[in-house]
C-alpha cells in the first residue's frame, strides 16, 4: 500500500459522509418500496383465501345458484360458462395469433411487419370494456341478444395481442442457424416455419397462450354486455352464459351478506385458477429456457 499516492480524500471538500448517508437513505427507500409493492398481493391473496375457504364445499362447484336466503347453491354454471367462453376465445385467438406472429417474425423490418407490430401494441392497450362494446356491436346487435359467442369474441380480441407478442418473442429466441439449416436443406419456407421454428418455440408459445388465458379468464367488464350471465347450466353458445368474474361482480355489488360470502368463495376459485396458471406459465418458461441454454 506504500506506493499509493499520498493525497488524502479528506483534503478535498467532498462531503463524503453526507453523500454516503444520502446514498444509504435513498437505497433503503427503494428497498422499502419494493417490499411495500408486494404487500397488496399478499394481503389480497391471504384475505380471499381466508374469506373464501369458509364456504367452500364440493357442492359449491357443482350446484347452480339458489335464491338469496336459501342455503347451499354454487357456481357450477359459472365454472362451465367461463370454460366455454374462454375456450371460444382460444379457438379464435390462438391460430390467428400464431400465424400473425410468424408473419411478423418473417417480416420484422418490412413496413407491413412494423405496422402489424405497432397495431399489436396499440390493440393490447385498448381497455377491455371497449372490446366489450366492439363485441356488442359486431355480434350481439346482429344476433339480437346476449350470447356466450359474443363474450368469447370480446375475450379473443383481448387475448390476440398477448398470444401474438409472446409467440413472436419466442420465435426470435430460436437460433437463426436452425432456420438457415432447414432452408439450406431445401425445405420450403412454410415447412421451415411450421416444422422447425414453431416446434422449437412451442414451449414459449404455450406460455403465451397460458398467460393470455389467465388474463381473459378474469375479465368481468366485457362480460356485462356480451355473455351477460345465466343462473342455469348452459351449453348453447348462442345463448347468455354465466362466467366467474361476472358472477363475482354481480354478487359483490348486491346488498346481501349471503351473496357477498359467495363472491369471496368464487373469487378464491378464480384467483387460484388465474394466478396458478400465470405462475405456472412463468416458471415453465424459465425452466425451459434454462434447459435449452438460450438465455
Amino acid at each position: 500500500m506504500s506506493d499509493r499516492p499520498t493525497i488524502s480524500i479528506r483534503t478535498v471538500p467532498s462531503h463524503l459522509g453526507r453523500r454516503r448517508l444520502v446514498n444509504t437513505i435513498m437505497l433503503g427507500i427503494t428497498g422499502a418500496l419494493a417490499v411495500a409493492a408486494v404487500i397488496p398481493l399478499v394481503w389480497i391473496v391471504a384475505h380471499v383465501a381466508a374469506e373464501g375457504a369458509r364456504f367452500i364445499s364440493p357442492t359449491f362447484f357443482t350446484d347452480v345458484p339458489k335464491p338469496v336466503g336459501v342455503s347451499g347453491g354454487g357456481i357450477g354454471n359459472a365454472i362451465v360458462g367461463s370454460a366455454i367462453v374462454v375456450g371460444i376465445a382460444c379457438v379464435i385467438a390462438v391460430p390467428v395469433g400464431i400465424a400473425a406472429a410468424i408473419y411478423s417474425y418473417d417480416n420484422a423490418t418490412r413496413p407491413l411487419g412494423i405496422v402489424i407490430r405497432f397495431s399489436t401494441d396499440v390493440l393490447s392497450g385498448i381497455p377491455s370494456i371497449i372490446m366489450g362494446i366492439f363485441a356488442y356491436a359486431v355480434v350481439v346487435v346482429p344476433q339480437g341478444h346476449f350470447s356466450a359467442l359474443s363474450g368469447g369474441f370480446a375475450l379473443a380480441v383481448i387475448m390476440l395481442p398477448i398470444v401474438l407478442r409472446t409467440a413472436e418473442e419466442m420465435l426470435n429466441l430460436v437460433p437463426r442457424s436452425l432456420r438457415e439449416g432447414a432452408l439450406a436443406l431445401g425445405a420450403p419456407r412454410w415447412r421451415t416455419s411450421l416444422r422447425v421454428l414453431l416446434p422449437a418455440a412451442m414451449s414459449g408459445v404455450v406460455t403465451g397462450i397460458m398467460l393470455g388465458i389467465s388474463r381473459v379468464a378474469g375479465e368481468a367488464a366485457p362480460m356485462i354486455f356480451t355473455a351477460f350471465g345465466n343462473p342455469f347450466y348452459a351449453a348453447d353458445i348462442t345463448q347468455p352464459m354465466a362466467t366467474l368474474p361476472h358472477t363475482i361482480f354481480v354478487y359483490a355489488i348486491s346488498p346481501y351478506k349471503d351473496l357477498h360470502d359467495k363472491a369471496w368463495t368464487t373469487a378464491l376459485v378464480l384467483i387460484v385458477l388465474v394466478l396458478g396458471l400465470n405462475l405456472a406459465a412463468r416458471l415453465f418458461t424459465r425452466w425451459r429456457l434454462k434447459k435449452m441454454g438460450w438465455k
Binding site: 435513498m26 418500496l33 419494493a34 398481493l41 392497450g125 370494456i129 356491436a137 412454410w190
Partner: protein, 327 residues
C-alpha cells in the same frame, strides 16, 4: 420473399403442372394465410374505431361537441353530457399516477440495480403476479377490506387536518375518488415498474461505470446518470400506466361510489367513463341512450389510442437508440 427461380430451369409446360408445382412448394398460400392473419390485427384496431363511430351517430348529431362539455346526464329527458365522467376519469387516473410513479420507479431501481441475485427474480415475479390479479378481485377486496381498513381512516384524517382545502372538504365517504385512485395506483404500479426496469436494463453500462469511476456513490449514479438517461423510456412507462388507469373498469366501478356530482372533494363519490358504461349499458333502454354510452366509449378509445401510440413510440425510440450499444 420470392425465391429466385434457378436460371437453368424452364417453367413446366402445362397450366395444371405449374399450379401443382406452385401448390406443392406451398410458400405462396402459406404466406398469404399468415399475412392475412397479420393484417387482421390492423383491421381489428380500425374496425373497433369504425364500430364505435358508426354506433354513436345519434348523440353526435344531436349534441355535437357539447356532449363533451355539458354535465347533464338524464336518460329520461334524453339529455346527455359527458363532462363529469371525463373529469372523473382524468382526476382519478392522474392522482393514481402521482402515487404510482415514485413508487414504481423506486421498485424498478431496486430490481434493476440493487436487489441481490437470489431476490431479483422472485421479487420481479411477485410484482408481475400483482398485475395478474383480476380486476374484479381488486374491486371486491377494495370494497370490503381496503376501503374500511385504509381509505376511510385516511379520509377522516385528511378531512380533520385539511378540511379548509376543497380537495378534502365535505362529508367523508368510503367509496370515493380517493378510494378509486388508490386502487388504481396499486393496479398500475406493476406496469410502470416492469417497463421502467426493462428500460434501465437496456441502457449500456459504460455510462454508469464511468460515473462509478469518477467516485459517484451508487445513488448518485442512479439519480444523475441512470434516471436522466432513461427519461423518455420512463415517460413511456408512465403513459402506459396512464392508459391502463383510464380504461380500468370493474375495480373502479366497485369502489368509486358512482355519483356524477361535480364536486371538488376527493372524499366524495365520483364516476368515470368506463364505470358509467359498465353500470348503465345493459340497462340502457333506448337507442339514443345506448349510443350516448357508446360515444363515451369512443372518447375513451381515442384517448387511450393516442396515449398508447405516444408511449410505444417513446419506448421504441429508447430501445432503438441503445440497440447497438449494449454489447
Amino acid at each position: 420473399m420470392q425465391s429466385p427461380r434457378p436460371s437453368g430451369l424452364k417453367p413446366l409446360g402445362s397450366t395444371t403442372g405449374r399450379f401443382r408445382r406452385w401448390w406443392n412448394h406451398g410458400d405462396l398460400p402459406f404466406r398469404a394465410a399468415i399475412a392475412l392473419a397479420g393484417i387482421l390485427v390492423l383491421v381489428i384496431v380500425l374496425a373497433i374505431g369504425r364500430e364505435l363511430w358508426a354506433h354513436s351517430i345519434l348523440p353526435r348529431g344531436k349534441f355535437g361537441l357539447a356532449f363533451l362539455t355539458t354535465s347533464t346526464w338524464d336518460p329520461v329527458r334524453q339529455e346527455f353530457g359527458a363532462l363529469p365522467f371525463i373529469i372523473g376519469t382524468i382526476e382519478t387516473s392522474v392522482l393514481a399516477l402521482l402515487m404510482a410513479i415514485p413508487a414504481g420507479i423506486g421498485v424498478a431501481i431496486f430490481l434493476a440495480e440493487l436487489a441481490p441475485d437470489w431476490l431479483r427474480s422472485p421479487l420481479g415475479t411477485l410484482i408481475e403476479l400483482l398485475a395478474a390479479v383480476p380486476s374484479v378481485v381488486f374491486g371486491l377486496w377494495g370494497l370490503f377490506v381496503f376501503i374500511p381498513d385504509i381509505v376511510k381512516p385516511l379520509g377522516d384524517t385528511l378531512h380533520s387536518a385539511f378540511s379548509f382545502v376543497p380537495l378534502f372538504d365535505g362529508p367523508v365517504y368510503g367509496p370515493s375518488r380517493l378510494a378509486a385512485s388508490m386502487i388504481l395506483a396499486i393496479m398500475i404500479l406493476p406496469t410502470i415498474t416492469a417497463v421502467t426496469r426493462d428500460v434501465f436494463l437496456a441502457l449500456p453500462r459504460t455510462q454508469s461505470e464511468a460515473a462509478f469511476a469518477l467516485g459517484a456513490t451508487r445513488w448518485e449514479m442512479i439519480a444523475r446518470v441512470l434516471v436522466p438517461q432513461s427519461l423518455s423510456g420512463i415517460l413511456g412507462a408512465v403513459i402506459l400506466g396512464l392508459g391502463r388507469a383510464l380504461g380500468e373498469t370493474i375495480a373502479v366501478t366497485m369502489v368509486i361510489g358512482n355519483n356524477p356530482d361535480l364536486s371538488a372533494s376527493l372524499l366524495h363519490p365520483g364516476y368515470t367513463m368506463a364505470s358509467l358504461i359498465a353500470n348503465e349499458f345493459s340497462e340502457a333502454t333506448n337507442e339514443m341512450y345506448v349510443q350516448a354510452l357508446i360515444e363515451i366509449g369512443l372518447v375513451l378509445f381515442v384517448i387511450t389510442l393516442l396515449l398508447n401510440m405516444i408511449a410505444r413510440l417513446l419506448v421504441w425510440r429508447v430501445a432503438r437508440r441503445f440497440a447497438g450499444g449494449t454489447a
